[in-house]
Symmetry: C2
Subunit: 344 residues, 2 copies
């Protein structure tokens, strides 16, 4: 955008209208067109290219957790990639791109304190939100920093066709896992993770008896369970823990849309019987290692050892609420992002 | 017993008659008087002095867990202290005492392979089953090997007036905990742990709102939760975890008598939000460290830093089933043992 082009004066946003109680209803969102004031000295204007859709956003909409709840009336909090289109701050060069908390909107006005990090010019912004972003780095952190994968381990991953799970299973293999089994919700997903991603086996939790299948597919027990799902899936996996197993709690998407929290697994005593540990983690705790992690992931991709897939939904920021739903119905395969600009 | 005294020819035993389903009913036990055959070369005859009553026996009665289930018709499996009263094996000197799996019976015929370890002659056999036995060493293992207590930590212990919990809380203090809070089921127990054992505070879970009280008593959150109870107690504690908390699963006595396993905590996501870990352990994994642990415990006792209490039930091995019940009704304070000989 050169100096002759007038700057935008309206910012399309998706705001939090009400907190979800149960499934995220359309009424939770409000579509707004907010005036963009003229740029002040020291500010830069960024155009959002893509926003990242993550299950954890559901939690931010509902209540204070590891971050404060999104205030009612604020844009939905979200990571994204944005490009500087106008700058009255030497720190922000026009054309440079940032990974930042862009939120669900078309434009971000950045002060000196933009929470974000610059992207190399040639990095695909979709991959920057997927395999090289929090989604992939979550898999890296959980698998390399928490799971303690040992040579020959049997590693089970739930949500295995999601952005994080699909990468997590492959990292387990790279770290020496002897057997990698994924749990996913469609035959197409199961075929993808075993066919393209090299998982040894997959369980379709919608059509198969998950408990029995884990037992069959992991005859020596599960050494590492990387869980994105919680609920019945977690309970089934606990029944098959090997001695000294590590259960890495990444998320529990099966329960995020429950109006009231569902009961937990009945078999936590398996942690005692198998001397196992269950540990939760948040990728935010590894912010200082993001550069190292992203580089490691890129090297694995370059070596052909790590594959990834991103699904891009077009139509502008307005489609984000509908697209967000797909995370919970299990329609997405790999990482899900919304292309904000161009709109299609 | 000198050579002139005839050896006993009958062994009173308590056998497993049927597996419990729900609370342990009297019908689960059968009282037997089993003939004791004459001693063979290489054998020794031990008289059982005390047997240890432990909640985990309930699990052994029901099903295979970390040990195979007790076979129907076998004596109830149990640790105990026994003394050699006759020996045709030079490895067993008459008068020497052993900590061993004596089971619920009056006599043990030992072959060369008696599973047990000799006790120093002057060690009180009750203390050998309590603070210096698996009960105290369980507290040692959980607190020193699993909990990772840091200087200033807030440590919460459930079952805090039990044999293990009462020692665990004191070890936490010795390791530098800044605040030690116990959960117990009577005012007398609460008074004992705060008055004599030096806990900073106690919650009576039968009369107080446990969740609210933990919040009041642990305003900076719980860094270590040493759990003997499970169920609602575990759920309440999870609501108050501090960042990076460690939940040490020692047992879950609240659920041992359930006919069907009860649902687990609804709030396992607290492990993610607080980046906390929950880890189960078994004292059996520390068998090779028992001598070191018992010595450490003895030094703490000698220094006046660790207090312990054992309740001795008399009346012979026949009273073991009734006494065992007290573990689940919460009647015992400290370690519970049955004196087998002398009978009163």
């Amino acid at each position: 955008m050169d100096d002759a082009t007038p700057l935008p004066t309206v910012n399309r946003q998706v705001l939090l209208a009400q907190r979800p109680h149960g499934p995220v209803a359309p009424e939770c969102f409000e579509h707004a067109q907010t005036p963009l004031p003229p740029l002040q000295d020291g500010q830069a204007l960024l155009r959002v290219l893509y926003v990242s859709l993550d299950p954890t956003i559901r939690g931010w909409m509902e209540s204070d957790t590891y971050l404060p709840a999104i205030p009612i009336g604020d844009p939905i909090r979200s990571g994204g990639v944005a490009e500087v289109i106008a700058s009255r701050n030497d720190a922000f060069a026009v054309g440079s791109r940032y990974f930042a908390m862009t939120n669900w909107q078309e434009y971000v006005v950045a002060d000196a304190d933009l929470m974000g990090s610059p992207l190399p010019p040639d990095l695909d912004p979709v991959e920057a939100l997927g395999v090289y972003g929090t989604t992939g780095i979550t898999a890296w952190a959980g698998m390399t920093q928490v799971a303690d994968v040992q040579e020959g381990d049997t590693v089970l991953v739930s949500g295995a066709a999601g952005g994080t799970g699909s990468v997590a299973g492959q990292i387990a293999r790279i770290l020496g896992a002897g057997r990698v089994v994924g749990i996913a919700g469609t035959d197409a997903k199961c075929a993808w993770i075993t066919g393209e991603l090299g998982f040894d086996a997959a369980v379709n939790y919608r059509t198969e008896d998950i408990d029995a299948r884990i037992g069959e597919l992991c005859p020596d027990g599960v050494d590492v369970f990387f869980d994105n799902v919680g609920g019945d899936t977690l309970e089934a996996a606990l029944n098959h823990l090997a001695l000294g197993a590590r259960v890495v709690l990444c998320g529990a998407i099966s329960g995020y849309n429950d109006a009231e929290p569902a009961p937990g697994p009945r078999n936590l005593m398996q942690l005692v019987v198998q001397r196992a540990r269950m540990e939760g983690f948040l990728v935010l705790d590894y912010l200082d290692r993001f550069p190292e992690a992203a580089l490691q992931l890129a090297v694995w991709v370059a070596e052909g050892r790590l594959r990834h897939r991103e699904e891009v939904v077009t139509g502008g920021i307005e489609v984000a609420p509908r697209a967000f739903d797909r995370l919970f119905t299990g329609e997405n395969m790999g990482k899900l992002v919304v292309q904000v600009w161009p709109r299609d």
